[in-house]
């Protein structure tokens, strides 16, 4: 199939950036979206143009590196799908597709479609862990975990840290990301001792990193490639209120 892509080109953090249109011809419907860009880049290189920079790595939907807003939607039109798992069969011959980077104050553009997501790591540093130095662990079966809790913790833990939630949020909030980690660890018995400090510290770090506030728009959950549910934000708010009350 033949298509056109309009891609955000920005040579560096200080460049203003603009959309540039490219023709891509003879693409197989079985190619992935990133493979389509690979084909385009091969052509750009041989034509003496600068190839489009984009983050990607595992290309199987788990590392969370790929990050494109496609036709206005983070990760594109398919539900619960990362950019790398989006295939060209979901587009039509002759389509014009817009491709842009994540846009959020806390994720500055490095080049073209590549953004800096270090702020996510900063939130985890503030409390997104269970303190369990190597060697100190008790026997694994010492603490049974109800299957219901373990399953829900797993659901929350499937977050791949891609940042689509932030890109989709009109406020550029990282609330779904933070809520997923707070829920994952807060549901495990091992996570209880740090439950209160974790939620307070992570929220503080989120604010400090320049993410916006949450106003329950729900866009985040809509674009999440792992389908992290919006209800986890309610859970976070409830944990936060309890933690703050105890502090007082």
């Amino acid at each position: 199939m033949d298509i056109q892509v309009r891609v955000w080109r920005q040579s560096g953090p200080t460049d203003k950036g603009r959309m540039v249109t490219y023709d891509v011809k003879d693409i197989s419907p079985d190619a992935s979206f990133l493979e389509m860009l690979d084909v385009l880049n091969e052509k750009l290189i041989l034509d003496g143009d600068d190839p489009i920079a984009f983050d990607h790595d595992c290309r199987e939907g788990i590392c969370g590196a790929c990050s494109m807003v496609i036709d206005g939607t983070a990760h594109g039109p398919e539900k619960a799908t990362t950019t790398c798992q989006l295939h060209m069969r979901h587009f039509k011959q002759g389509d014009t597709i817009d491709v842009e980077p994540w846009r959020a104050a806390a994720f500055p553009v490095i080049k073209d479609l590549v953004v800096d997501r270090t702020a996510f790591d900063t939130i985890i540093q503030a409390g997104g862990y269970i303190t369990a130095p190597t060697g100190a662990a008790p026997e694994a079966h010492a603490t049974p975990v109800p299957k219901k809790d373990a399953d829900l913790a797993f659901e929350a833990a499937t977050c791949i840290g891609c940042g689509a939630c932030v890109a989709a949020c009109p406020n550029g909030s990282a609330m779904l990301f933070t809520a997923a980690k707070v829920a994952h660890l807060g549901l495990m018995p091992q996570g209880q001792p740090e439950r209160d400090t974790r939620v307070i510290d992570m929220l503080q770090a989120q604010d400090d990193a320049g993410f916006g506030g949450c106003t329950n728009m729900g866009e985040c959950s809509q674009v999440c490639p792992k389908g992290i549910p919006l209800t986890l934000i309610g859970r976070l708010n409830s944990d936060y209120r309890k933690a703050i009350r105890k502090q007082v």
Partner: protein, 648 residues
């Protein structure tokens, strides 16, 4: 044939204690020198890579009080490729009461590796396996559990017990997040200095010891030299030499290869694992292959049509009696759960007979119809739901309705830098952990053992053995003006300059793809003397062409993804050649290395223990026309006596 290499002195692992295998690790821990906690602060350790091995090592060393500098090419340590491991992690917990034990895990791993692994290392791995699960549970890793709240297990290829712990189909991700979170805690505390989007491009050796690395900041292009008291490589495997593999696109051999060029021996490079259950190629645009977890073989049945003329028909139109469930037929006792090397070669054989399915006839069915009938769709979905979704997303086919199509793909490399029992390479102060070393899997790795090895090395082994080395430190501070440091830095700068100046007419990817074709064709699932000799010639010619015709756009002082790739591909050429030489010299079949000249009458791998029961550790050939030198480490089997591996 010997024209391709020189024979060198034998080498031995002097770090492993002798005597009773069950207490070797205890005795090594006791004999290892300790570093006073107050002195640890003064010692700096560089860790390259943040996967299961590097992440767990960095976190543990920092917890112990060392100053750690960590590097990864990804934008966050959480994205290292360990994250993509699906199926699970083995541990000899015997929670199923099915006869498992540390000894059985040890036995299975030595046998599964086709008697080409070191017994001491494997026994230690089996020993620490139980601690790994405890550690991960304490970190909050959400393993699958039963209704009573206890951990669930499943079985995996090459074993008859259920010892695999898992978190749906995302075990690697959950384990890596555990290590990553422990690391982030240490970063927050200031004990780890994290350098994401940084690539190691050279090793710095001063007075015979590894003392630092040269790195490139991938965002600004700045080249810096980073010094330490010891260097740990946890930079993963080299499967991407095949271009198409299940590795992440960025996985590369550069860190290991730079160390090899500086004197670290590279062991068993030809031992490559071809995973039997991957999604087949769909066209020339293909940029990587996707693995479907081996756990699918617990319930899926592998088959092809009995007759080649049926291959074009839809699967549903092929009657039960016209299907050949070839693994169940040839290997009745292990059936669909034979080890990876055997399942892969069997798939190749039926496709070579013209009985493959799907485009190009390069595929076999993995069918869940019986499992859905037996367990119900819901139960199958609970076990494999995310894998089925992934398959459907990539192929556009629904595996609940039509059988999956799978084909083998390069997945893991058992070879790597040679290390002793302490995980120290032949360069003092250079330690190698995880897939980057060669030590535990022999010629074939069993499923769910890579995660075990990565975490075992990083959490439990390295912190002890590295401490023993550091106890002799702190080593003299090295200035950035030291001639070795300046030289290493200049090498990196010159190489980048050279790559950018060629300005030819072929892209990096086009060279990489061509190299991959050569490797897959001649150094893939089946190897011959003739093919390997031919491949060496082809690789040398292609390498020469690369250095004349490659086109790397842009400059070195910016984010330049093609420059990154070009440097990696340049190293892959040299590695590919060594892999072929290693495969050529090993005139036997073992594990993932199948030499067509060495097989039993019914087509199974035929080892030659009298001649090849050794680790082939290669010394880099210096100078353009020089040949690599082969050093042999003889393997001793005191406990598990080599036998013909049979899964029939």
């Amino acid at each position: 044939m010997a024209d391709f290499w020189n024979d060198g002195e034998a080498i031995v692992d002097t770090a492993a204690p002798e005597g009773d295998i069950e207490t070797r690790w205890e005795r090594r821990k006791f004999s290892a020198k300790l570093v006073n906690p107050a002195n640890r602060r003064k010692l700096t350790v560089i860790v390259v890579g943040t996967g299961l091995a590097g992440g767990s090592a960095a976190a543990t060393l920092a917890e112990a009080g060392y100053h750690v500098k960590s590097y990864c090419y990804q934008d966050s340590p959480r994205r290292a490729h360990s994250i993509a491991a699906q199926g699970g992690i083995n541990a000899a917990k015997n929670y199923r009461n099915d006869g498992d034990s540390i000894y059985r895990l040890f036995y299975d791993t030595v046998k599964g590796g086709d008697f080409r692994a070191r017994e001491s290392n494997v026994y230690r791995l089996a020993t620490v396996s139980v601690n790994i699960i405890d550690q991960c549970v304490a970190q909050g890793v959400p393993f699958a559990r039963e209704y009573g709240g206890l951990l669930d297990n499943r079985s995996f290829g090459g074993t008859q017990v259920s010892r695999t712990f898992y978190a749906r189909g995302q075990t690697g991700q959950q384990l890596l997040l555990g290590a990553y979170q422990a690391m982030e805690r240490q970063i927050g505390l200031g004990n780890i200095e994290m350098n994401a989007r940084h690539e190691m491009l050279e090793l710095i050796i001063v007075e015979g010891k590894a003392r630092g690395i040269v790195v490139r900041d991938m965002v600004t292009g700045e080249i810096t030299t980073e010094m330490a008291d010891a260097v740990v490589l946890a930079s993963g495997g080299y499967g991407n030499v095949f271009f198409l593999s299940t590795n992440a696109k960025g996985c590369n051999v550069t860190a290991s290869w730079r160390a090899h060029r500086k004197g670290a021996l590279f062991a068993n490079p030809c031992y490559t694992q071809i995973h039997p259950t991957c999604i087949p190629e769909s066209g020339t645009h293909q940029s990587k292959l996707t693995l479907m977890s081996e756990s699918l073989r617990n319930d899926g049945r592998v088959w092809v049509p009995k007759r080649a003329e049926d291959c074009q028909k839809p699967a549903a139109q092929i009657a039960e009696e016209d299907r050949d469930y070839y693994l169940e037929r040839i290997y009745p006792s292990f059936g669909n759960l034979v080890p990876r090397d055997i399942a892969s070669r069997a798939a190749k054989n039926v496709c070579d007979e013209g009985r493959g399915v799907g485009p190009g006839g390069l595929g076999v069915y993995l069918d869940f119809a019986d499992a859905i009938k037996r367990l119900g769709k819901k139960a199958v979905e609970a076990k494999y739901g995310n894998l089925f979704e992934m398959y459907q997303r990539i192929t556009g086919e629904d595996p609940y309705e039509v059988p999956m199509r799978i084909y083998p793909a390069v997945h893991y490399t058992m070879g790597g830098l040679w290390v002793d029992y302490d995980l120290q390479s032949t360069i003092p102060g250079l330690f190698v952990v995880g897939e980057a070393n060669f030590s535990d899997h022999g010629a074939n790795r069993l499923g769910a053992s890579a995660l075990m090895q990565g975490l075992g090395d990083g959490y439990f082994v390295l912190p002890t053995t590295l401490g023993n080395y550091l106890a002799n430190g702190p080593y003299e501070k090295i200035s950035e003006d030291h001639e070795e440091v300046v030289a290493a830095r200049a090498e990196v700068e010159n190489r980048i300059k050279r790559l950018l100046e060629i300005d030819g007419d072929r892209t990096v990817d086009s060279f990489h793809r061509e190299l991959g074709h050569i490797m897959w064709e001649y150094c893939g699932m089946e190897r011959t003397e003739e093919g390997l000799t031919k491949a060496i010639g082809l690789i040398r010619a292609l390498k020469e062409e690369f250095w004349q015709r490659v086109k790397v756009p842009g400059t070195g002082e910016q984010l330049n993804q093609n420059l990154e790739k070009a440097g990696r591909v340049a190293d892959f050429f040299e590695l590919g050649e060594l892999m072929c030489i290693d495969a050529l010299h090993r005139r036997e079949s073992c594990g993932g290395h199948f030499r067509a000249e060495s097989q039993t009458p019914d087509g199974e791998a035929l080892r030659h223990d009298d001649e090849f029961s050794y680790v082939a550790a290669w010394e880099y050939a210096t100078g353009e026309s020089a040949k690599p030198t082969l050093h042999k480490e003889q393997l001793e089997f005191e406990y598990v006596h080599p036998s013909t591996r049979s899964y029939k």
